[in-house]
């Protein structure tokens, strides 16, 4: 039987709040209870019921546990907005924490910990102290977690009041659940502190391993996760630990299994006996396979982890490839991951079966999945030399089906196969040429052109084929143009006859005179000069032997893999990114006095510098400057905040990726007015103002259209020309019809690295906008570099110094801004931090203040910044060091705007 609470949602008469107020003060208990339920219902649907605070709190002193819980729930939600009134609740809390009923004692402490109001926190300490020593394990286990809550609010208080010691005592508690929660709390505190608080000794290890057998499934997860940080002294100890943990693999809870796997993998690194290792691998395989019969979401997590595990220990699942065969009804995200693992497990032994599967998938409905299946065949060919021929046979069969995107995908992978096995499979070129007309995707075209150029001497009509592409030369995307240029030169060198000679003239002319792409032009000039001065040298350059490629796509480098394996079952293992790449939270630990001297190399530091120095998450990796290998991964979530979704969806960004932008979103027009880019006088009455902005790690083009014409305007579309950062719209522009005299604003999500222009970096962004009523409007905008500053640009001080030293002096560039005054330092720092330019340290030099910052742009390029100024006096000197000095001018432009504001 179920309840009938839904009635509490249905009071929407006028004066609802006064009515509730009256009911809350009713003399009848039941009525009060009902009223509180209504308040909670209103709170749930998002109504503001904070004005009832006093009335609700008055109901707190009750014998009725259900009512009490509701009031507490209300308090958790609203205490922060009413800190002064929240104090009214303290007395009841303190009283409840001494109630004879352990449920109420625990409830009081649990709730108090959730209320983040300083005044309440002060009163929490005494009850917490009592509860940590309570006779009842239920109260103790609740108090243990409460210490972690308090640490999050006020770390100093926890340390001063000795709660950490009490918490450590709880590890030896006789109740397994208390132990488990104490371990969870300590592990969390340790993670947020830079001092050793929870050190794993062999003594604690033994205690925890014992508790492991008795605690709840979740407790086992807490303990296993904490234990995975333990470094065994030698192989013997590691073997002992593993022996105690192995039984957990049989647990029905997937989180327990994955945490046990994590722990075993960690210890296995130390174990030297190959027998033991082989045996462990054998034991881990079945539980991992069993995870694939869980809910699809859990399967997904398991598959992402298995992907990591087989990279380190390929033998574990070497014989289980069949379990990764896709079921017809698997969700797409499960299928994609299974495919990836199938490629990793493919071997000479099972390739025939695998190919049959891939071929089957290549005829399914979902386009992205089909593409990935075709690509998988190619990757297997590159990986397994002996199977390459069979792979090609399958690809040719697929080409014969004549499904357009299958053909294109196949041609792309066949080009790679040619690279891997030169002079082996060229006999199939004729078949490929049959599909020439159907190619419409740039990557497929470029691949086909490469093949024609590379094998020009074996294709009788190579010149005709290339000529057919040349007709559309000016319209092609840059990399097709580059490919065409090179292919024509190759053709000419191989067959220096009249036809190719004419073609080369046309191409060189097109690529030097007609284009504004500097990269294309440069390459064309080089070829031109080579050909005209020394054709033999040209041959050596253009027809040089190419290094053989291998399939390294989606392989992680070993140190990153180590880190990810230590994070099995967590988000990090799902994203295939180290935690600091997506966890932006700054640690809350308050600076301790002794920290003040720490690292005073750059002068006297300030507290902000400390939190910056301690801010990054534990094991400091080189991730600050190394582009994550993960960016090349088909990470389903956006890889880094600014980068586009890499290639889960194939290459048709924009086809399946169109973000919908609500037009009525108030965010766009609010804030400072946008700069006018197309004045109404130029736009025949249409005025466009726009600016690039960054919000929540995503770049948007904030646009405002004002219609000063006499007719309604609709059918707005937008297009961006190639630019340095390859900025392009992530989806179509969503603007409704704009009536005369009105305006509409929108936030258009942008993607980067889509449509890159070559040559020196430039901040120019050329935009074209059209609508159904007017001609196309072109206007120019400036790309402010700071919209690319990523959220993960914060550097540790040590890392900063190291990076600064490691860069050659030639990478240091300085610029003066004589006109800029820094008035309020705090405000300036805040403003810079808001644009992801992170303050690291400050020092005094004579009367000048020197500030150090770090920032990072996509692809992991860091900027180390030094600003020198005298506060309140005009003149700022900016020195930067970066591996990419060519973007310095853009950077200075950005800094200037930021400082001017």
């Amino acid at each position: 039987m179920s309840g009938h609470d839904s009635k509490y949602f249905s009071t929407t008469k006028k004066g609802e709040i006064p009515e509730l107020k009256e009911e809350l003060n009713s003399q009848y208990k039941d009525k009060r209870k009902d009223a509180v339920k209504k308040v909670i219902a209103a709170m749930t649907v998002g109504k503001d019921v904070s004005s009832l605070f006093t009335d609700v709190v008055n109901c707190m002193q009750t014998e009725n546990l259900e009512l009490k819980k509701l009031v507490y729930l209300y308090l958790i939600n609203y205490a922060k907005s009413q800190p002064d009134l929240a104090i009214l609740a303290v007395n009841t809390f303190v009283k409840d924490s001494q109630d004879p009923n352990p449920l109420i004692r625990a409830l009081a402490v649990r709730t108090m910990g959730c209320i983040r109001v300083d005044k309440i926190t002060e009163y929490l300490c005494d009850p917490l102290q009592r509860c940590l020593k309570d006779d009842d394990p239920y109260v103790r286990k609740t108090a243990a977690i409460c210490v972690a809550k308090l640490y999050d609010i006020n770390a100093e208080l926890v340390e001063d009041r000795g709660f950490l010691e009490s918490l450590k005592d709880l590890i030896s508690d006789n109740n397994p659940m208390v132990v488990a929660n104490a371990v969870a709390a300590l592990a969390e505190i340790q993670e947020n502190s830079n001092r050793p608080i929870f050190e794993m000794t062999s003594h604690t290890l033994t205690k925890l391993l014992t508790a492991l057998n008795e605690c709840t499934e979740w407790g086992q997860v807490f303990i296993l996760d904490a234990l995975s940080r333990y470094k065994a002294a030698d192989a013997r100890e590691a073997e002992n630990i593993v022996e105690r943990v192995t039984p957990r693999l049989q647990h029905a809870n997937c989180a327990v299994v994955l945490s046990a796997v994590k722990m075993i993998l960690q210890q296995m690194e130390l174990i030297t006996s190959t027998d033991v290792v082989r045996n462990l691998c054998k034991k881990m395989a079945p539980p991992l396979v069993t995870l694939l019969s869980a809910e699809p979401e859990i399967q997904y997590v398991a598959l992402r982890n298995i992907n990591l595990i087989v990279q380190r220990r390929p033998t574990i699942l070497a014989h289980e490839i069949k379990v990764f065969f896709c079921k017809y009804n698997d969700p797409i995200y499960v299928k994609m991951e299974k495919l990836e693992i199938m490629i990793k497990l493919a071997s000479d032994r099972n390739i025939d079966q695998v190919l049959l599967e891939f071929k089957e998938y290549a005829t399914e409905v979902d386009v992205d999945f089909v593409r990935k299946a075709v690509r998988a065949i190619g990757r297997c060919a590159i990986k397994l030399e002996r199977a390459a021929e069979r792979c090609i046979t399958v690809l040719l069969e697929l080409i014969k089906i004549k499904v357009n995107y299958v053909v294109q995908e196949a041609i792309i992978v066949i080009k790679d196969i040619f690279r891997r096995y030169p002079n082996t499979y060229e006999s199939i070129i004729a078949t490929l040429c049959e599909s020439l007309d159907t190619l419409d995707e740039p990557e497929a075209k470029a691949s086909m052109i490469w093949i024609i150029g590379e094998y020009a001497e074996r294709i009788d009509n190579a010149d005709e084929l290339l000529e057919s592409f040349l007709e559309s030369f000016p319209e092609e995307p840059a990399h097709v143009q580059l490919q065409l240029l090179t292919a024509t030169v190759k053709l000419f060198l191989k067959k220096p006859t009249e036809g190719p000679q004419q073609m080369i003239q046309v191409v060189l002319n097109n690529a030097t005179v007609e284009t504004d792409n500097p990269d294309l032009r440069d390459r064309a000039y080089i070829y031109w000069r080579l050909l005209s001065t020394d054709p033999e040298a040209a041959k050596d350059v253009v027809l040089a032997e190419k290094p053989v490629i291998s399939d390294d796509s989606n392989l992680l480098d070993s140190s990153l893999l180590d880190e990810l394996l230590a994070n099995i079952a967590t988000l990090s293992s799902v994203y295939h990114k180290p935690p600091e790449a997506f966890v932006t939270r700054v640690k809350t630990s308050s600076p301790r006095p002794e920290d003040e001297e720490y690292g005073s190399e750059t002068g006297n530091s300030e507290s902000a510098a400390d939190s910056a120095a301690t801010g990054a998450s534990p094991p400091p990796t080189s991730s600050g400057s190394v582009p994550y290998a993960a960016q090349r991964q088909p990470v389903p979530a956006p890889a880094s905040p600014a980068a586009p979704v890499p290639d889960l969806l194939g290459d048709l960004i924009g086809l399946d990726n169109s973000a919908i932008v609500p037009v009525d979103q108030p965010a766009a027009p609010a804030g400072p007015p946008l700069p006018v880019l197309l004045p109404a006088s130029t736009g025949q009455g249409l005025q466009i103002s726009a600016q690039l902005t960054r919000r929540d790690g995503q770049i948007f083009y904030s646009i405002l259209f004002e219609n000063n014409t006499q007719v309604p305007l609709d059918g707005f579309m937008i297009q961006f020309n190639k630019n340095t950062f390859g900025l392009a719209a992530a989806g179509p522009l969503q603007v409704p019809q704009i009536q005369p005299g009105t305006s509409a604003g929108t936030l258009l999500p942008m993607v980067t690295f889509q449509n890159m222009s070559q040559g020196p970096p430039s901040s120019l962004l050329q935009v074209a906008v059209k609508n159904n009523q007017q001609p196309v409007w072109y206007f120019n905008d400036k790309i402010p570099l700071h919209v690319f500053f990523t959220e993960d640009g914060r550097m540790e001080r040590a890392n900063f110094l190291e990076t600064w030293r490691s860069l050659p002096d030639s990478n240091e560039i300085t610029k003066d801004f004589p006109g800029i005054v820094v008035g309020n330092v705090e405000a300036t720092l805040d403003r810079l931090a808001a644009t992801n330019m992170f303050f690291i340290a400050k020092r005094k030099h004579a009367n000048q203040d020197v500030f150090y910052f770090s920032a990072k742009i996509p692809r992991g390029i860091p900027f180390l910044i030094e600003l020198t100024t005298v506060v309140n006096t005009p003149g700022v000197k900016c020195a930067i060091k970066t591996p990419s000095p060519e973007s310095a001018p853009l950077f200075f432009e950005a800094v200037e705007t930021l400082l001017k504001d």
């Binding site: 996760d225 049989q250 997937c254 379990v323 017809y328 389903p636």
Partner: protein, 438 residues
């Protein structure tokens, strides 16, 4: 860090918040808007269950007409989070008496808030066992068939039981008649190529148990699995005689089973929770007895006609029979007209799923009914890509049959009061994903 959640939201399909509970301060209260805007309202929905938006990550699951969304901003334990959701839903279902949907949530929101407060603290999952929680979270609308105590008055030692070593069973249970029901439920998963060779085949089985036992009984279960039997004969130093033995690829157990003991002695011993629960799950890939063979021939005759012939053979004992057999044979979208002949059961064309659906209510062993159909297609002008044939799918249930050959050899019950127990065992095999490519 095994934190599983900073906030939990329950949304309906429109994106309205039904329940929200913030456990940590590191995510804003408006995070649900980001989820609505960047996932629910885009094509991203359903493409990946773990997503990052800005500084927060979202994990979501859809259960009937409700989305359960977990938000975190730290490197949380995703496996833990999803498992928590699954278990929480099971818990709610056991409280509401079955259904978990938007209506059930609205009707029980007070209860859900109370439970959410209890089962997770600061993002760390706590005890989620329904049996124990029902001891002290007793909202109206809850009728536990086993509790006769008045509501609103918690059992005095509830807290000890929540945290106790046997955190899934309460003390002091008394039944007049002590009974145990065992259900062995197997799902056969099959993927067969069009040529009739088995591409993938496995059985996932579970043993469901219903216990009505007094006191704190110790149970021991014996199966005809190879390793268990070998161990047993080692201990008794004489061979145990029994017919067929089977090899389990993997077993997982309910938390009540002593895993360390299973690891060393290979015996399944446990103190069961009261009432119904899933004791264990197992998986078998070798020596699977497929209950059905499907032999399809589908011929495309020109561009507008398809000839379908499907023969289904039951390969279990002639005295047994399967129930609820459904065979779904895919046909192209542009199907215009169909005509059938079946030797058993009934068939019809279902345009919503583009399938010929052939149903046989009772299907005896060792028979082979056939379906032959003719399908006419609307001829389309546009030269579309050729029809990609989805696999034939089959549903069935075969009582008293296990595809794995698993048998319960014994179930022993010890309790200090020494009562007698009656044990009931049932077997049933169902179709998991039973697919035949054609």
């Amino acid at each position: 860090m095994p934190v599983a959640a900073s906030a939990v939201y329950f949304l309906n399909l429109r994106g309205d918040v039904l329940i929200n509970r913030l456990y940590r301060d590191d995510v804003g209260g408006n995070m649900v808007d980001a989820f609505r805007m960047h996932i629910m309202q885009t094509k991203e929905l359903g493409t990946c269950p773990v997503r990052q938006i800005g500084g927060c990550s979202f994990f979501y699951m859809r259960i009937s007409n409700v989305y359960i969304v977990i938000v975190v901003s730290s490197n949380a334990n995703v496996a833990c989070a999803f498992k928590f959701v699954v278990e929480a839903v099971a818990l709610f279902k056991s409280y509401f008496g079955g259904a978990f949907d938007e209506d059930a949530i609205r009707n029980n929101f007070v209860l859900i808030y109370e439970l959410l407060d209890e089962i997770m603290d600061f993002g760390y999952p706590q005890n989620l066992s329904p049996e124990i929680l029902k001891l002290y979270i007793t909202q109206e609308g809850v009728r536990s068939p086993f509790s006769s105590k008045p509501t609103d008055k918690p059992v005095p030692n509830a807290t000890l039981q929540v945290t106790g070593a046997v955190g899934w069973r309460r003390e002091g249970l008394v039944y007049k008649k002590n009974e145990v029901f065992l259900d062995i439920v197997e799902s056969v998963n099959l993927l067969m190529s069009s040529k009739g060779s088995v591409l993938r085949c496995d059985v996932t089985g579970k043993i469901l148990m219903k216990c009505f036992l007094s006191g704190m009984p110790d149970l021991k279960l014996g199966l005809n699995d190879k390793i268990g039997l070998e161990k047993e004969s080692q201990i008794k130093s004489r061979p145990t005689k029994s017919g067929k033995t089977i090899e389990l690829d993997d077993v997982t157990f309910h938390q009540c089973v002593n895993l360390t003991r299973f690891n060393s002695e290979k015996t399944v011993s446990f103190v069961p929770p009261d009432g119904e629960f899933e004791l264990m799950k197992y998986r078998i890939t070798e020596g699977v007895n497929l209950p059905f063979r499907v032999l399809p021939t589908i011929k495309e005759l020109g561009r507008t006609r398809i000839e379908v012939n499907v023969k289904v053979k039951s390969v279990f004992g002639a005295k047994m029979f399967a129930l609820g057999v459904v065979i779904k044979i895919p046909v192209p979208k542009q199907t215009a007209k169909t005509s059938f002949q079946v030797t058993s059961g009934r068939a019809k064309y279902n345009a919503a799923i583009d399938c010929l659906v052939w149903k046989i209510r009772k299907f005896p062993g060792q028979t082979e009914p056939t379906l032959s159909a003719e399908v006419e297609l609307i001829s389309t002008m546009t030269e579309k890509k050729s029809w990609t044939r989805p696999p034939i799918q089959m549903e069935f249930q075969v009582p008293m049959f296990t595809a794995s050959g698993l048998r319960v050899r014994f179930l022993k019950v010890w309790e200090k009061s020494g009562y007698n127990t009656v044990e009931w065992v049932r077997y049933i095999t169902k179709a998991g994903s039973y697919e035949i490519r054609c």
